[in-house]
Subunit: 310 residues, 3 copies
């Protein structure tokens, strides 16, 4: 998320933190690590990820240890970077939910069919020739392209499911991102597409989603993908173009699936899939291997009987 | 779907297509292949299915090749039968969504309890003593029997998930069917039951559905079935009477399940199941066989250790 | 559920039933077997469960056979205890749905953010600083704590999925319980949490639920649990504190999961899990064993080839 540019010194003061770097160093955005750009603040609180954060595109790093500051960057030292980042996001991007059905700040194109019970939040942008069936909910800041159809009781832009475990509770990472639905997308009934944390969850042009589909925060779905009912994709996955996910498939967070890949029904994917491959199983592997395994397992009871009677 | 009867010549003219047959040959309906009756137009665009379409009950076949016309039938030759069929459906059965909570053309029986936020579309028919919990959505043309209870945020009659892959997008088969919910059915919260494409998705008398259940287009569920939470049934399946599907079961399209069969939780069914059988697994098989396999697999690590140390 | 105290003789008369015990024996509540207290009526209709019911905390047992009456208790003899119990529940706790968005009998704390399309039923209690995103539905009698966030299109308090199979239909056990959501809980979009039958379904303090989660009737979820998208928990389960359930996990009814346990994605749990253990698979077992089995199965096709060619 872009913010009005602010100097390092002023930003650090907002969270009462010490900083390392030029006090006039400029901050122009807030993003979490998967989506950082030059000018952004990012946070890191585990030594395992220090290098990733320090070497990312981010210009300023909130960190819980005084380390060497990379050239041209700045550090903000804070005992709880996660919380510090949340405070900054809430400061610069405060929530102010609209309590009316269609916010006055929504931008709506031509020929919207908006059926009863739909909610359109602040700063939502809707293209031309869009159909929203009854009770569709679109949270603040989401962007819906042209010719999009969304079926009843679907939720677009709910908060990211991204937490830090504390002793007494889970602290949620403050969601201030958006969902972008590109042109010609069709979304079924009772689906949920979570907002990006500070950035974008994207459904690419002409993709079609059946009912009861869950898309986690910051997922990027390519163009012309097809997902059957009950698919659940965890946060930060990257799904290529023309990918097919059959019914009830689940995909773990941060998995990358190549163009034209297919995942067969009920599979659980926890590793990347190359373009054009077909996967099956839970945990999923190449479908041909899995089919061989299934065939082998069918023979196993008799094999064991035989081995133990020989 | 029935349409006002029309002669072959006039119908073919609507899609600028050549026809084979008597120009006064009468067309009385439009249906896709799984649901055709005498008098219907059907479409077929793949040689693999030519015979099925030509020998079906349909009286008129839209086809992308000049083949021999069966006796007493007619052919319409069109390079894109799928698109041609869509054009005809839209022509004869145009959508005209109601933008008010309860359509003026809905027929509602006695003692309806309609809680806030429910949507009742055009030509919906609702029997006596029905309870619609808040935010239930019923699309156009659906038929709800007597004594039916539908829990909150459930969607009845959303579009079929039926597409043809084109180079640049997915072309949707135009949905103009309906859902029929028979008497004494109970449907849980946040369920989705898709409309038949040109025909009917049916939930049989006294069946009970838990929450988060998905029923695809043109599925026929028999009487007194029980489905636990998270079941997803793909399009065109036929589920017998007194079938039990436990939690999170998935069923592939066009599967037939016999009366009194049981599918255990989390199974994925991709083959027909005979009456009275119990299935388990993904892919599912007879539960006894699967339990033997599971027992055998438990022994496998030690068996392998033993074989490799002998 | 507590009721106004009533004497045995009067209660039995409501269902035209014979009783065994002091006619002035007092009844102060109605509960099903998993949740009975002193003073309650419970029902039992299968010899297999007679002893459990007779020896439970319940003071009065509706039973379909004349058995010996435990000391200090009373029996009500009825050919259909399930139906008799339903009649009593409907008599003492009749449903009277509110047909307005926020019932006049709801108790609402400070700083409620209630977005459009939400429904708040009779006798609902809502704490301070609660956020209800659009189209959240809260059925009668539910209790929402402080600082709770519920995302769009979620349903709280739908009827228990608890039926008795009859020759011609399923008879539903009458739902007259509640859901209690404790402080600091976050619930995602399009979730469903069923009511207790006569008692409470509970989500413990500071637990966080992702989207599309189903919690069955009378489930007790502890504090600081985390559930990823698509989890489904069947009725009467007991989930400890700090339990983690990853995506699309399913749990069979009445399972008990100990504090700090973890269930990996897509697992189906049908047995109790001890505190601190990690489970995987469907049916689930200790994750380490399952991983060994998966590794062994990968080797199996080659092992079989080798065995058959030796």
């Amino acid at each position: 998320m872009q913010i009005n540019p602010i100097h390092l010194k002023e930003l650090a003061a907002l969270i009462n933190a010490k900083f390392i770097g030029n006090e006039h160093h400029l901050i122009t955005g807030l993003n979490e690590i998967h989506r950082v750009n030059t000018g952004d603040v990012v946070f890191v609180d585990h030594p395992k990820y220090y290098n990733k954060a320090l070497n990312s595109a981010a210009s300023t790093i909130i960190i819980n240890k005084e380390v060497e500051c990379p050239l041209g960057k700045a550090l903000i030292i804070h005992p709880e970077p996660f919380t510090a980042f949340n405070i900054l996001c809430e400061h610069f991007l405060p929530k102010n939910y609209s309590l009316i059905e269609t916010s006055n700040t929504a931008f709506i194109g031509h020929n919207l069919i908006k059926m009863p019970g739909c909610y359109i939040g602040n700063n939502v942008s809707i293209g031309n020739n869009v159909t929203l069936h009854p009770n569709v909910v679109i949270y603040d800041n989401c962007v819906i392209g042209n010719n999009v159809i969304i079926h009843a009781n679907t939720t677009i832009g709910s908060d990211a499911f991204y937490f830090k475990r504390r002793e007494k509770n889970y602290e949620a990472l403050y969601t201030c991102g958006e969902v972008v639905i590109e042109d010609d997308v069709i979304i079924g009934a009772n689906c949920t597409i979570d907002s990006g944390v500070t950035s974008t969850t994207k459904i690419g042009r002409a993709s079609v989603l059946d009912n009861h589909i869950h898309i986690g925060h910051d997922v990027e779905v390519g163009e012309q993908c097809l997902m059957a009912a009950g698919v659940a994709i965890a946060g930060v996955c990257k799904i290529g173009n023309k990918v097919t996910l059959w019914g009830q498939v689940g995909i773990s967070s941060s998995v990358i699936i190549g163009d034209g890949a297919t995942v067969l029904a009920k599979s659980g994917v926890n590793e990347n899939i190359k373009a054009g491959e077909t996967y099956f199983g839970a945990p999923a592997g190449p479908a041909k291997e899995k089919m061989r395994e299934i065939f082998a397992v069918k023979q196993l009871p008799n094999l064991i009987s035989k081995l133990y009677t020989e």
